[in-house]
């Protein structure tokens, strides 16, 4: 029989407000096994924990029940407390009387009644607890960063800085991501390239960092500290180590007419290309769908002009297998497709563009060499209309847009408007908005300058329709403040498209068994307290894959993720979760049901000699669980027909004891 101590937490008034904590402590006194029961204002506080430690010592408790907030909150805390008092940490059970009781029930009587029952269930369970000792597994001291945008770059640099090797996997031919496509950055208006490209170079030159560009994660196995990852290095038909990036091939390539992804298809690139001048790695890549040599075996010009002899038409996709201790997801974002937004005539007119396209259009390295022109006729636009929240914050248009706020649009639109007015004072600039959201250091000041100093015409209201007419774009909009209908003849319309997680995130999440929210943003282990960790141990989140972010936020989160990774890789061993499956060999039939449902391949079979009840011996096939691989889901326990398979910490007997206690 256990000697159980019960500790009821008031959590200030959070629990005590709707639960009579004294009554709970009193009621649980008479439960079997309970030898001590008390309540205190804040059990998780130092003083509270001391009460627990003291009681363990004085009443030599063998198990404790803490009636408090969710185990997801403080189970770890109280386990440490128990351990500090010499009790096995797994002799602790939590009765969740806050999140699942005091916070959801209004009146004292109901709350108290339920709290007592939850307490009884926890006591019933702890009575059946047994001390558990976690297994240990080594840590592979290497990190994988998926995505080579500013988030990935910063995370990689910080991890490498701490002395751990890092691999970056980037699906594009170069790292740099979205930031590389930007012109200037708010609110300081310094040029994106000027602050990003040096970091890209650092990455290239850091001997701790390997860049797998033009590559994708193919498969992820293993678990925290011991991930086995397969990376597919797509054939770029150019030997990376030999190519000097001189660009001769790019010059000579006859197949020039291919939409240039980097400039969002606003101009063309050859079949063999280097995305942009500061690309890292600065290596050419052949687009197999465009290259005549690869398609029809004719041409081969690039091979001939390549002094270094880097061209290799026979190159194949290559699978690289590597072990990692930690994985950082930095898959970033994309503007949503404007296809469905006919009202803005995005498909009808070349002069309706997205903000990212506008960035390229105003970028010195862009299709128009930084000269602001209309894509349709190359003329200088005199009237520009910026439309905000296109696809953002639309609960109505959820099927084509997003319900959330994309966060960055207000600021970059202000930036665009300001820069336009600055460079081209003769241009009329309208910005249509629902609200202008400018929290953040120097953000509001920045926006007000756009209005006050640069005379940008901000109109509260949405654009109803854009109709191409002649060389004009007729913009119908409503001014909600003056409550007037506006008709503007615009030369250029810029849509602040909502942003969404990159499409590659969903399959990746499945590979990583990391959870996502309904918008396919990765969910964090805790929205406030563990914002850069995914619930899956060893997987961390950096940048916009977790939610819309601007550059400063992204960089700071990237650093945070890096520090978590460093913390993990600094350990030599990880103590695993001891709540894993184990099979009673005497009852095991060796039928393989458990093996079939195990998602981790943690179960294998061995032939063992057994002494049967009739005193004969028999060789039987029985299951054995690999404690390092088992993650403790329990699928096997139900698949097992004889009940030989059970789960430590969540044993059949324990769960049934809880059921009984609850159903009394």
């Amino acid at each position: 029989m256990q000697r159980v101590g019960v500790f009821v937490c008031w959590c200030g008034s959070n629990i005590a407000g709707t639960v009579d904590v004294h009554a709970v402590a009193e009621a649980l006194k008479s439960e079997p096994g309970v030898v001590f029961s008390t309540d205190y204002q804040y059990m998780c506080s130092q003083a509270g924990q001391d009460i627990i430690k003291q009681a363990i010592a004085e009443h030599n408790l063998t198990g404790i029940v803490v009636c408090s907030c969710s185990p997801r909150m403080h189970e770890a805390t109280f386990r440490k407390t128990a351990q500090a008092a010499g009790l096995n940490p797994y002799m602790v059970e939590i009765a969740n009387i806050r999140e699942q009781c005091s916070w959801v029930h209004k009146d004292m009587l109901t709350g108290t009644e339920k709290a007592i029952i939850l307490g009884k269930a926890a006591v019933a369970k702890v009575n059946l607890n047994t001390p558990l000792t976690p297994g240990e597994s080594p840590v592979t001291k290497r990190a994988l960063v998926i995505g080579g945008g500013i988030a990935g770059i910063q995370t990689a640099l910080d991890i490498a800085d701490a002395g751990f090797p890092v691999d970056i996997v980037e699906k594009q031919p170069t790292i740099g991501g979205k930031m590389a496509q930007l012109d200037k950055t708010f609110p300081t208006l310094d040029c994106a390239a000027c602050i990003l490209t040096p970091k890209m170079v650092d990455v290239a030159q850091n001997e701790k960092i390997r860049i797998f560009s033009y590559s994708e994660v193919e498969e992820v196995g293993g678990f925290v500290g011991n991930f086995d990852v397969k990376i597919k290095k797509k054939a770029r038909f150019v030997k990376e180590d030999i190519c000097t990036g001189c660009g001769a091939c790019v010059e000579k390539c006859p197949m020039k007419k291919n939409p240039n992804e980097f400039n969002l298809g606003m101009d063309n690139r050859p079949a063999i290309y280097i995305p942009f001048a500061q690309a890292v790695p600065k290596v050419a890549t052949i687009d197999p769908n465009a290259c005549n040599m690869l398609k029809n075996g004719k041409c081969g010009l690039c091979a001939r002009v390549c002094a270094a002899g880097a061209i290799d038409y026979t190159q194949k996709d290559e699978i690289i297998e590597e072990k990692y201790g930690a994985i950082v997801v930095a898959t970033g974002f994309n503007p949503i497709s404007m296809e469905k937004f006919d009202e803005f005539a995005y498909n009808q007119s070349k002069d309706v563009i997205t903000s990212l396209e506008f960035e390229r259009l105003t970028n010195a390295a862009g299709p128009s060499a930084g000269k602001l022109i209309r894509p349709s006729d190359g003329k200088h636009p005199h009237t520009i209309v910026f439309v905000q929240c296109v696809g953002s914050r639309c609960d109505a248009c959820a099927e084509k847009g997003k319900e959330y706020c994309s966060k960055i649009c207000c600021m970059y639109t202000a930036k665009h408007a300001m820069l336009t007015r600055d460079k081209y004072p003769d241009t009329d600039v309208y910005v249509f908005y629902i609200d202008v959201r400018t929290p953040g250091k120097n953000f509001d000041e920045f926006y007000r300058r756009a209005v006050e100093e640069f005379g940008v015409k901000y109109v509260k209201g949405m654009v109803g329709k854009v109709t191409p007419e002649g060389d004009k774009l007729k913009v119908q909009a409503s001014d909600l403040l003056s409550n007037k209908q506006l008709h503007i003849d615009a030369d250029l319309v810029v849509l602040a498209a909502a942003i969404e997680p990159d499409k590659s995130a969903r399959p990746l999440a499945t590979m990583l068994t990391a959870s996502m929210d309904t918008n396919d943003f990765f969910t964090e282990a805790h929205p406030k307290l563990r914002p850069v960790e995914s619930p899956t141990a060893g997987v961390f989140l950096s940048g916009a894959c977790q939610g819309p972010k601007d550059i400063p936020e992204t960089v700071s989160q990237a650093g945070a993720a890096a520090s978590k990774v460093i913390g993990l890789l600094a350990k030599d061993k990880l103590t695993g979760n001891p709540c894993i499956a184990s099979s009673n060999e005497l009852m095991c039939n060796g039928c393989s049901s458990c093996e079939r449902v195990c998602p981790y391949g943690a179960i294998t079979y061995v032939d063992k000699e057994f002494r049967m009840p009739d005193r004969t011996t028999k060789i039987r096939r029985v299951a054995s669980v690999n404690p390092a691989v088992c993650q403790g889901c329990g699928a096997c326990t139900v698949a097992c027909p004889s009940g030989a398979m059970d789960l430590k910490g969540f044993a059949n007997s324990q769960i049934i004891a809880e059921v009984d206690a609850i159903c009394k």
Binding site: S30, P32, P613, D614, K664
Partner: protein, 342 residues
């Protein structure tokens, strides 16, 4: 001897059930006879016998002994005996009547089983003579006269009437109750039936099955007989034979945790089960062969040894009809006892 016409037998039943619960074989939905409490509309089955023997009335499969109620750390003991009032079992065959004697010798000898005892006290047995024995019958082997069963009252059922004869005080009292529904008569019809059935009994395939080879003191003769291996080789180890058997009397006592206390109950157990009388060291009988042997040795050797040579089997034939693999005491007796009745 008194009689009542078959058409008005339900009046008799009605009369009795005014004062006592009356149980008799009634054909169930699946056409199999089951002892059922009589009520208007229920008809007395013509079946030779029920699958579940009437031993259930005195030794039910599950019987609550007592209850411990717990509140907090206090325990309160509650008496939940329910065997309180008189009841009548009607239509018990000769073999099953004998089974009560066999059970009595177990439960009524010291220490007396008070639960069984008081059920026996409260039970009134109206037996009925067999008129259409089955090929599986072998009660004669154990000296039972199927045409003249014992019991508090004996009944004979002919084409048109039912005849009654009281054998005990309880029986007399029973007859009193139905006096004005029955009429005094001679026993000619009964005698006639007895003779007729006796002839059929002689023709039964197992008529001359003999148990003479068995009995007390024969342990050494049979315990190590090589035939046990072969006989038990395909025994499934289920409890069918023991649970349909009218004389099997093994039970287990278990506690059921109700959440608010414990109900201590006893339930039938079977020596055929691998868990039977399992102890800390394991099982006494480690293989199915030993468990199988135990059951038959008990009925044919151990029981008679302790009970003036009375066998622990009544030849009702239930196990012959119900064993999933058709292994049974007759096959055992013939194989082991070397008695091949051609």
């Amino acid at each position: 001897m008194r009689k009542v016409s078959l058409d008005s037998i339900n009046k008799v039943f009605g009369k009795i059930s005014e004062s006592n619960k009356l149980y008799l074989p009634v054909d169930g939905s699946d056409g199999v006879a089951v002892y059922t409490e009589w009520s208007e509309g229920k008809e007395w089955s013509n079946a030779l016998n029920t699958v579940r023997s009437p031993k259930d009335f005195f030794f039910p499969q599950v019987e609550n002994l007592m209850e411990f109620k717990t509140s907090g750390k206090n325990i309160e003991l509650v008496d939940i005996r329910d065997e309180k009032e008189d009841f009548v079992i009607f239509g018990v065959r000769a073999c099953d009547v004998r089974s009560f004697d066999i059970l009595d010798r177990v439960f009524l000898s010291d220490p007396v089983d008070s639960f069984y005892a008081s059920r026996r006290e409260h039970g009134i047995i109206v037996s009925v003579a067999c008129s259409k024995p089955s090929e599986t019958c072998f009660c004669t082997t154990f000296g039972i006269d199927a045409t003249n069963p014992a019991g508090d009252v004996t009944a004979w059922k002919t084409e048109d009437s039912v005849y009654f004869k009281a054998n005990t005080e309880k029986g007399e009292a029973f007859m009193k109750k139905i006096e004005d529904l029955t009429e005094e008569c001679d026993d000619s019809a009964v005698t006639a039936q007895k003779e007729k059935i006796a002839k059929i009994m002689e023709k039964l395939p197992l008529a001359n099955l003999s148990a003479d080879a068995f009995g007390g003191g024969k342990t050494d003769t049979f315990f190590n007989a090589p035939e046990w291996d072969e006989l038990s080789a395909t025994c499934l180890g289920c409890g069918t034979c023991t649970f349909v058997c009218p004389t099997c009397q093994c039970y287990d006592i278990k506690d059921f945790n109700t959440g608010n206390g414990v109900i201590r109950y006893r339930c039938w157990d079977s020596c055929m089960y691998s868990e039977f009388t399992k102890m800390a060291h394991g099982n006494n009988r480690i293989s199915q062969k030993e468990r199988f042997r135990q059951r038959f040795m008990h009925k044919l050797v151990y029981y008679p040894e302790n009970n003036e040579g009375i066998f622990g089997c009544v030849g009702c034939g239930r196990c012959l009809a119900k064993c999933p693999i058709s292994m049974n005491i007759v096959k055992v007796m013939k194989k082991i006892g070397g008695n091949k009745s051609e």
